[in-house]
Amino acid sequence: MKDELILRVQGLLTEFYTERGTVKAVHDVSFDLHRGERLGIVGESGSGKSVTNLSVLKLIQYPTGRIKAGKVLFKGEDLLGQSEESVRKVRGKHISMIFQDPLTSLNPVIKVGKQITEALRLHHKMGKKEAQAKAIELLKLIGIPDAENRVEDYPHQFSGGMRQRVMIAIALSSDPEILIADEPTTALDVTIQAQILELINSLSDDKGVATIMITHDLGVVAGMCDSVCVMYAGRIVERAPIDDLFYDPKHPYTEGLLNSIPRVDRDQNQRLHSISGAPPNLINLPPGCSFMPRCGYAMDICGKKTPPEIFLEGETKRTVSCWLHVKEDKHG
């Protein structure tokens, strides 16, 4: 069952319209997600990680932005082609999301218990008493003591870590098949981070939920995911199973990322490696590879043509978008 394809994103293109021009936030992004798989999406701020996942649920609101092209095949059906009404039936029921900031993701004036069962009430028309019992059950599941009384509390009476747990409970309440976690631990301190990741891990293991973990923390990816997509300037530059990526990065950007992780075994006086330069402005992307200006291996062709996403030889799960790995026709 593990190899059953559950989500396939193809050629996703999302734009935002600002006063200064059109921002191509997500550019030709494709990836697959299998049942029970844990996929990490890493990249720096503004690389399109979150927008990719908002697009999967069609949560980009016109006129701010628009999904211009691509397909999101959930169990073979394209969500992007469906009406708002029918996508709504998927959100929170089959695919749910955990947001980055637990402090603002809960409504301050609604009791926690009621918010936990929101998805259930929306999708299953659950009655009040039943929902209350379910809310208590879910609070117990995520390890909140005194659940019977805490369901009556408001979000401000919970700590940040507890609120993130509540978010997880909301996301998992209706037994989704896909869980999208958008930087679920960014706003939390390190000890709580570990607990939250552990919780997501164990709950998704128990229920066989496929997880997309969006993060800029390679440590989180290493500890949790089966495979990784590395995003840069709106594109996926490398896709690989977790171990391959860490031991044998193919894309210069991935290599740079891995080199810039602080390490205990390195000389204390050595300065931390950083990738020189800054990410490009997504409004006026120059032709060619967007990483070229910062790349140590840049060639002539890199500035002229966008590198195609190619499967590495002999691999079925690794792709990379870089001219270094295109065997023939390097001079365009």
Partner: protein, 276 residues
């Protein structure tokens, strides 16, 4: 709730309003005199215990206390229904305008701006002149004056709220527009709206009195505080009680609503919550 009873101002306001409500209830079953019965023998009698006319009589010999009591229900009823009408329409328009934004928002708010550019009394007089002099038209006129006020307050509150992450979270749970608007956003904007309601109730009393005073509101012989003042105008120097008591009735009730509104503002505004 506990915070409410700790707030002396709000409780004082509520007590005053309670007094008027008791008056209404009493006036439904018992009045000292018939409020519209004229008595040519007792015209402009000064207040006295022995005659039974505690607040005196007017130029037709009608008992002023009875008329004030009867007028209380008219004034309060108009004030409450006008606020309800203006509030419901204004809030609905405002929250949808704020939530949807764009053209609809622009249209609604420009209409509101136009209505705002008239002084409220002038606007109310204008609407009364168009609709004709009927008690229920007073409700409509005051209600229309209120629509832009409620619309603006709720629009502003919704705009600052709708970019919150919890809105997106609700959407990702499968909630639709109206679910988000009414279940998530509306409860969040209640505090400023509640304050606005209590202040609107008091202004409605004044507007109703002003309209009746000008002869556009409640028509004689039906008593209302405004038309009592209006008829007292001619005999005020001779018999000051004809003006003083209806005037007092207005002032005290307006004071009550304002105290309640101020108190509620202190209670509901989290920034003032810990100031003591």
């Amino acid at each position: 709730m506990r915070r409410f009873f700790k707030n002396g101002i709000a409780v004082a306001g509520l007590l005053i309003i309670g007094l008027y409500i008791v008056t209404i209830v009493v006036s439904m079953f018992w009045l000292p005199f018939d409020p519209v019965a004229m008595n040519s023998a007792r015209v402009l009698e000064a207040p006295s215990l022995s005659s039974g006319h505690l607040f005196g009589t007017d130029e037709f010999g009608r008992d002023i206390l009875s008329r004030i009591m009867k007028g209380t229900s008219v004034s309060l009823l108009i004030s409450i229904s006008a606020t309800a009408f203006g509030g419901v329409v204004g809030i609905l328009m405002g929250i949808w305008a704020g939530f949807l934004g764009g053209r609809w928002d622009n249209f609604i708010m420009r209409v509101a701006d136009v209505l705002f550019s008239f002084p409220s009394l002038l606007l109310a007089i204008f609407i009364m002149a168009v609709l004709g002099e009927h008690t229920y038209n007073v409700v409509v006129a005051i209600g229309i004056v209120y629509i832009p006020q409620f619309a603006r307050i709720s629009r502003g509150a919704i705009i600052s709220l709708k970019s919150n992450e919890f809105v997106r979270a609700a959407r990702s749970n499968g909630a639709g527009d109206s679910y988000i608007l009414f279940r998530h956003l509306l409860p969040n904007i209640l505090p400023p709206i509640i304050v606005q309601i209590s202040l609107s109730l008091s202004v409605a009393i004044l507007l109703e009195s002003a309209l009746s005073f000008l002869g556009l509101g409640v028509q004689p012989p039906a008593p209302s505080w405004g038309n009592m003042l209006s008829s007292a105008r001619k005999v005020m120097m001779l018999a000051p009680w004809t003006a003083i008591y209806p005037g007092l009735a207005i002032v005290v009730l307006v004071l009550g609503f304002n105290l309640l509104g101020d108190g509620l503002r202190d209670i509901l505004d989290p920034r003032l919550r810990n100031v003591r």
